[in-house]
Amino acid sequence: MSLSFMIAQFLNGLASASSLFIVASGLTIVFGVTRIVNFAHGSLYMLGAYFAVTLMQPLLDLSRSFPMFLLGLLVAAALTGLVGLCIEVVLLRRVYRAPELLQLLITFGLVLVIEDLVVRIWGPLELLGPRAPGLRGAITIAGSQVPSYDLFLIAMGPLVFGLVWLVLHRTRFGILVRAATQDRDMVAALGVNQSLLFTGALFLGGALAGFGGALQIPRAAASPQMDIAILTDAFVVTVIGGMGSVPGAALAALIIGQLNAFGIALLPKSTLVLVFVLMAGVLIVRPYGLLGRPEPLSLRVAVPEGFTRLMPPTPALWLMCGLVVAALVVLPLLADAYSQKIAIEVLIFALAAFALAFLIGNGGVVSFGHAAYFGIGAYAAGLAVKRLGFGMEAALLLAPLAGAAGAAVFGVFVVRLQGIYLAMLTLAVAQIVYAVAVQWIEVTGGDNGIVGVWPARWAEGRVTYYYLTLGVSVTGIFVLHRMLHAPFGYALRAARDSAVRADAIGLDVGRLRLLAFMIAGAATALAGGLYAFSKGSIDPTLLAIPQSVDFLAMLLIGGIQQIGGALAGAAALHLLRVWALPLGDMWRMVLGLTIIAIVLVSPQGIVGGVAQLVQRQRRARTSS
């Protein structure tokens, strides 16, 4: 590697670090104040780019000058800030008291809605914005051509950092933001107007995202896919830096910028995993990121209230469960082949979602990467059949073993962490598994995946496979449910509610959580194996972030505090999806709005809402 090439890569790394930092700083400020992991941050970045593309040409037509270009950037940033502000006032304000995961889900609903709106307003084709006047060319530095706009970007990073620092340290608003980042309850107790503070944080965060997006238009076209692309990067930067820490974000952006710039030269095919390996490594060594602080004990971030008032099922409940199972048993007599197929999928998702509920609701281990185990099971089953010549039965036995093994390897590192950092490590692990599935083409088939994973001859018929799935899912759910009421379940809940006290009475908290992680991994992988045989094909989308979000959504739509919530949620979400798919272009919007509506109308989920209604009626009856 020549010196001039290294200098060029260093400058390239700095330019991308600047861009990354500007976006990530907004995300980290919003998280610090509101404790909301804002999935819609990437959407705001995208809106910033689209605003800039739309505004810039008319502005530059007025006067083709650099100050005009700057003005365009600032207007785009301010408009995006206003969108962020509206999001806070209209939506987020209503859910601050809901479990943190619900807040996350509502921002994911927003991602879908905004993506759809962008395609509707600006069209599906990417839009190329004008270049910055005066910064079109390149200058030669140490023998390499460096675009002058890159130098401008390199300057913008520190400038934004300085401005954000000034706002945070020299204004009353900034001092409150920092105070809220450290101890939100204390700030509230001191009589600070919280809603104003939160609105301000969302405006600032949105404006930074929008500015970051607008800055990109001379380098890249605005496209409806850029939201998700930047979102994972911004997450990685904030997590590595320490969530809530602006200097941390700056440091992490610098590291990642250089890592990518030199990684491209050395390992061109590894760019998918490099940052996630770094993130996993940092979280293992420094659980709160490079410059983050441990959460104050009073705040159990991202741990939603799990199963509460867990009582052994009453006879009435058993009766109801029996009726549901009986209805499922006779279903093939009443439903056509396609409905049976949908029912099979619902049963599979129900098992996977119940395993996640077991992990989150009972164990307090919030997994953002649940799809990894679903996918591991599917791939294990598929590979066993296609590459090792196993039969379906053996493959279905192998799937949960593979899931448990995967969960054991990752779980060792995962269960040592807490809250949002734990969640982020599960996400990083899932991304690494995803990257392996995509890149290890000889074994996994890459993006194309594996086809031809069909059931054994005897289970080929739709009805037979339905009963196989029904049997396996119901048994799996029953066993998991039994564990909730076994001593193991109680010990796990103790560890969830107070790790310190559980430890004091002699429970090995780490081992309990690891065991729960492995059990959930095995059950989910079993579901993944069933899924593979029901579809006939496997590909990396099974392991991707949207699939993990789907599982979380099932849990939350059904209700995280109720044992049956995951089951109802799996059915509701999957049926909604099946119903909305034929709407074609509309399905993203429908799905997004439905998620938002459910979170707003019934934050306890469907089952929670029903339970509350029943309780209210009962109370009304006894009082009258």
Binding site: D116, L125, E126, V146, P147, Y338, Q439, G452, L581, P582
Partner: protein
């Protein structure tokens, strides 16, 4: 209050009246059930391609049904579904089309993984699947099956068109840049193989595989890495949101100066329109110069498309239009809609399309639909193709030995 019987009576009267009206006023096919074909595509997530594709499809359907439909007067109906852009959803949708809608065959898909999943489903359910767009070679080669046929020239064929066009230049030191997924990697692999066959002392001096959709994030570093290897030629497979920053950053950094650039798909309006006045000159590209094609039937298609949708056609529009006519000809030739007859008719069937004669090769189930290869240029601030010619797919298909080795 009306009794149940009176309700029934009035209902049946209404139905009878409706049937009578249909018979009296409607076109001839209202007495016979329509022939249903299932079409699934990523209309939501791949709208840039899929929406023009659907437009082309609807245009052809209107024309065909105005002329009497298929099988001597039955209406040709496409049941169009979004496939959700995941394999799981796509297989579910395919199932719904086959079992609920009772379609005679499946058509469509864009992404290769979805095309493959649906083709495998078709194989399992013994249903004909005419894959219109997915480019992966696996669908007709390693993962090929008796029920799946592909219309567009695949990755290998398109790469071969480009290598044929560039080999006379004798460029020896090549750089490859491709999106990091199956399409990009198989295009790169095909290019390596073909360029060495064409120019035995050719070497690949650098390869870059940015994650798809994320090239822009590290555009500078990637381009610097390409530049540092000092290639004489560049083979580019980036498209869509990755292509525009590649062109812009590459221009700014002088990457393309004095180098031969060969680029897949770049001339397709879907990807070329956003480039506008940044469109590079003299890249050797595959694409679709719709405004310059003088063949009368193609011209009639362009005029009808513009009139109906108030937009210019994309490659997808042409493909959708062409595929519907292929389906019509197929059903008419088979004289029936059962899978066995359709497949018997389809093997080695000749079609007369707006892009010239096409044969569906029975050997590998790949159509001989060709492609346009030419140079990129700018006209009035818009990207265009010049010095192009149409390459018949026959000349660039896999050899019989290759096919037999891959399709065991």
């Amino acid at each position: 209050m009306p009794t149940r019987r009176s309700l029934l009576a009035s209902a049946s009267a209404t139905v009878a009246a409706g049937a009578f009206l249909c018979a009296a006023l409607g076109p001839a096919w209202s007495q016979q059930p329509p022939v249903k074909v299932g079409e699934l595509n990523s209309y939501g997530s791949m709208a840039a391609f899929a929406v023009p594709y659907r437009n082309g499809l609807n245009l052809a359907l209107d024309e065909i049904n105005a002329k009497g439909g298929v099988l001597g007067g039955r209406k040709l109906e496409f049941v169009i579904r979004d496939n959700g852009a995941t394999t799981g959803d796509a297989v579910g949708v395919a199932e719904e089309l086959v079992t609920r809608e009772g379609v005679s065959m499946l058509v469509g898909t864009f992404l290769s993984n979805i095309g493959l999943a649906v083709s495998d489903f078709a194989n399992q359910k013994k249903t004909l699947f005419l894959a219109s767009e997915p480019l992966t070679d696996a669908i007709t080669m390693g993962a090929g099956n008796p029920y799946t046929y592909r219309v567009r020239p695949g990755t290998f064929m398109q790469t071969r068109m480009l290598v044929d066009a560039v080999k006379a230049k004798g460029v020896k030191k090549w750089a490859i840049i491709a999106p990091n997924y199956e399409y990009g990697q198989s295009a790169a692999a095909s290019f390596k193989r073909l360029i060495k066959e064409a120019t035995p002392d050719a070497e690949i001096v650098v390869e870059q595989y940015p994650p798809i959709g994320k090239f822009a994030a590290d555009a500078g570093a990637t381009i610097a890495a390409l530049d540092a290897a000092k290639p004489d030629g560049i083979f580019n497979v980036l498209f869509g949101a990755d292509l525009t920053p590649f062109v812009r950053e590459g221009n700014t950094r002088g990457l393309f100066k004095g180098r031969t650039v060969v680029s897949l798909l770049t001339g397709e309006p879907e990807y070329m329109l956003p480039l506008k006045d940044e469109t590079p000159e003299d890249w050797i590209i595959t694409g679709y110069p719709w405004e310059q094609i003088t063949e009368p039937r193609h011209k009639a298609f362009v005029d009808a498309y513009k009139a109906k949708f108030n937009d210019t056609p994309r490659l997808g529009s042409m493909l959708g239009y062409l595929v519907v006519y292929m389906v019509r000809d197929l059903i008419d030739k088979a004289g029936a809609t059962d899978t066995d007859k359709l497949i018997a008719a389809l093997n080695d069937m000749k079609f007369d399309t707006i892009a010239g004669p096409v044969v569906m090769r029975g050997l590998d189930h790949q159509s001989s639909l060709g492609g346009w290869v030419g140079l990129s240029t700018q006209k009035n601030g818009q990207g265009a193709m010049k010095d192009w010619k149409f390459i018949d797919g026959q000349s660039v298909m896999f050899s019989e030995t290759d096919v037999k080795a891959a399709r065991k």
